[in-house]
Symmetry: C2
Subunit: 452 residues, 2 copies
């Protein structure tokens, strides 16, 4: 019998992150100033990010050294296991070989600490005392709390009010690691007070929470801001996932994956597993990259590749990306991490070049897949991860029908221990299959600035 788990030792942990910017067949469009609409330089980001992270945002270097203290912290849970989905393969009677990189083993339960740890480290090195951030469902907030605790930084998390009230477990996890968590909008910022004055009973939104966290960082000398997805340096840090997977596949004599699959919200977990295999594709190898999103938030499948703002309040630089429009309001699907109007510019660029294809699914078939996975592999996944699994199952069934062997690799981005109420709704047939209407997208696109 094949091994279920392919393990690396700590000495195999990658010493460098891979920067796909070095190998792009065509360069990316630069970020633009929201006012002048001219390309911005690194200095524009200096008020909210430390210089090392800004350098990583723009560097053309192919390999970026992982600092020793970051590697040491990574070793708390990395290298993560690569698992062979023997139970699922058998159940599907597929000739495909299915492997998954298990990022749920991090203390915060997802891939997010892969970037939270270096972000906390570089801020500490730059003399920063305190980080501010926003969190929706709480995955990113808990990852950053875990990381700031390691390096002795304070952490202030603005947590969207609806989640703060409904998901106390994620908040408590952040507090166990010493973070200070407030319900957003809060009275701690001008933006928050303004939002509350407009509507004292607002459930909050990620857009509002971002405004509060950015204001907090911009106003305090001791504080910087940290973002959990979308930006180039975040995706860079996540490549540790794919670099490990590459070594692990070699250990079981797999020369390359034929299909690489991940779910996409902002794009970072997908980029993490996919980018290290991108050079093979650029060199002509036959690899399919599938980015999986909810039909309730079909950014790549139905959105447009345009310059748009990263936030609702139009405070961020303009980024060239797939977008549903920054005024997009997502339906309340349970995969909270996939409810974002934009897509990482690097992932968007590769989609536009045809290197990555998008797939979109409804909630119910996604939870069908999650339950099948739990009952064949034993593992209970996050609703975000379940999107990837839905696509994996469909690909494996296609392999069976076409009698085709294939090596399928996917990112198991997080566990579902804090998401069990979503499973409950699925079992109670209480999950809506919401599809974002084309008219609404067309309407929202009218608010996207036209950049010549």
């Amino acid at each position: 019998m094949a091994d279920r788990k392919i393990l690396l030792s700590e000495s195999d942990l990658p010493r460098q992150w891979y920067n796909v910017q070095a190998d792009l067949p065509k360069p990316m469009a630069p970020p633009l100033h929201p006012g002048t609409r001219q390309p911005i330089g690194p200095e524009a980001l200096a008020p909210i990010f430390p210089m090392e992270l800004i350098k990583q945002e723009v560097t053309p270097e192919r390999w970026i050294e992982v600092p020793d203290p970051v590697r040491e912290a990574y070793m708390i849970w990395r290298p993560s296991p690569l698992r062979r989905a023997i139970g699922l393969e058998k159940f599907l009677k597929t000739p495909a070989r299915i492997y998954y990189k298990d990022e749920s083993v991090s203390p915060a339960g997802s891939h997010k600490p892969n970037t939270a740890v270096p972000q906390a480290y570089y801020n500490k090195q730059a003399g920063v005392k305190r980080l501010s951030t926003e969190t929706g469902a709480g995955q990113w907030g808990s990852a950053l709390s875990f990381a700031t605790n390691i390096f002795g930084l304070e952490c202030k998390v603005y947590m969207v009010k609806a989640s703060y009230d409904q998901k106390p477990y994620r908040r408590l996890l952040m507090e166990v690691w010493g973070a200070s968590v407030v319900s957003s909008p809060s009275r701690d910022t001008e933006a928050g007070r303004k939002f509350l004055a407009e509507d004292a009973d607002t459930p909050g939104s990620l857009g509002m929470a971002i405004s509060e966290a950015v204001e907090d960082a911009a106003k305090r000398d001791d504080t910087k801001y940290a973002l959990g997805s979308v930006l180039n340096h975040v995706l860079l840090h996540q490549t540790v996932i794919g670099l490990e997977a590459e070594k692990q596949l070699k250990l079981v004599d797999e020369k390359q994956p034929d299909v690489v699959i991940g779910c996409v919200g902002g794009g970072s977990n997908f980029a993490g597993i996919a980018f290290p295999f991108m050079p093979m594709k650029f060199k002509g190898k036959d690899i399919t990259f599938l980015a999986v999103e909810p039909l309730a938030c079909p950014t790549v499948s139905r959105g447009m590749f345009r310059y748009d703002f990263g936030d609702t309040a139009q405070m961020t630089p303009l980024l060239k990306m797939f977008t549903l429009g920054h005024t997009f309001v997502p339906a309340g699907i349970h995969a909270g991490g996939l409810r974002y109007h934009g897509m990482a510019p690097l992932v968007s660029h590769l989609c536009a070049l045809g290197a990555i294809e998008a797939r979109a699914y409804h909630q119910n078939p996604v939870f069908d897949a999650a339950v099948t996975f739990a009952r064949t592999e034993g593992m209970v996944c996050a609703p975000e991860t379940a999107h990837a699994i839905r696509c994996v199952i469909d690909e494996a069934i296609r392999c069976r029908e076409e009698k085709k062997e294939a090596c399928i690799l996917f990112n198991y981005s997080g566990h579902g221990f804090f998401d069990l109420t979503a499973y409950d709704k699925y079992f109670s047939k209480d999950l809506e299959d919401y599809e974002y209407p084309a008219e609404k997208i067309a309407e929202a696109m009218k608010h996207v600035p036209v950049v010549e």
Copy 2:
């Protein structure tokens, strides 16, 4: 820097469990019939357990083969990592080397699947179609649901009403794996209907739930009963923990642990890590075994070594064990898994022989330890596990004060992702340090049968 994680490959997974009964310096007292008070034979257990498990309950064989299908299922998460607590050691400035066996990596989040898997397997082999069990906080119920799903058995879980209402996440986890979960007392059994007739608003108890699960198994030909701790065969299965740890310590040139620590409720996770090292102790090596319990349920520290019933309703055989009396009603501490009036007869016997020492702690110092651990090691533990960690920290501090090197090994029996409300109460200074009063113990002991 020393490695943080010591890993074994799947081929290193033990092929046999270790049966400490083979090496006891003095034999155990036999179980007695509750009516006749004469020693009972294996056949007395046949209505509720399959014969292979009954054989394991009484065998004097030192090594018991792990069947291949059980090993294959173990490989979903085993061998589990042995972790070096580098962060905690540094924080405590201790010369002690602290290792912990991470049993939280199982899909159910604790050591419980180590016995749930073989129990489900042997029942399947015996033609059983369905298992019944009780669960309090839900750890055991979720482990059995996970295991029965693997072998295609139905599973009926009687979950104590108070937990069923307050801890929906554990119930949902069981349902994801296909188990049928009811609030106990239920209308599905005679015992349940009787309890409800007496008090329609009862919060239930483990004693009531055991009565329902045993009745269910006794009345249906297709159903057997499964127990998650206390019995010899359960402890036998858990020795896979200590056997792996022994191999892992050798890999880092540790000849033996000087101190072995685990929390005790029924005794199985402690036995799992401790028993494989017991022969060293019997041969004269200097090893200290510390069983850690709550002061709210001080079974070994304050109870008596007597024949007593395993359940409140006096249905089980009489077992010679440390007990607080079968009428004992535990305080509502958060370490639900440690709220049991008795102690596994094997652990009790070794305590009585002086091979194992007990330690007892209050809740608040236990949660102090849990938070220290989360902030130095990054891992958020279950309240039960936190008892072991409290004792580890005290031992490590003693090593520092006595300037003594030592190898400390403990069992990290489970994660705390479903227990975060307990951390919340701790942070809110809302946790009571309840000590079970000596008068109450004396009173309860009056109801313990006198066996000559």
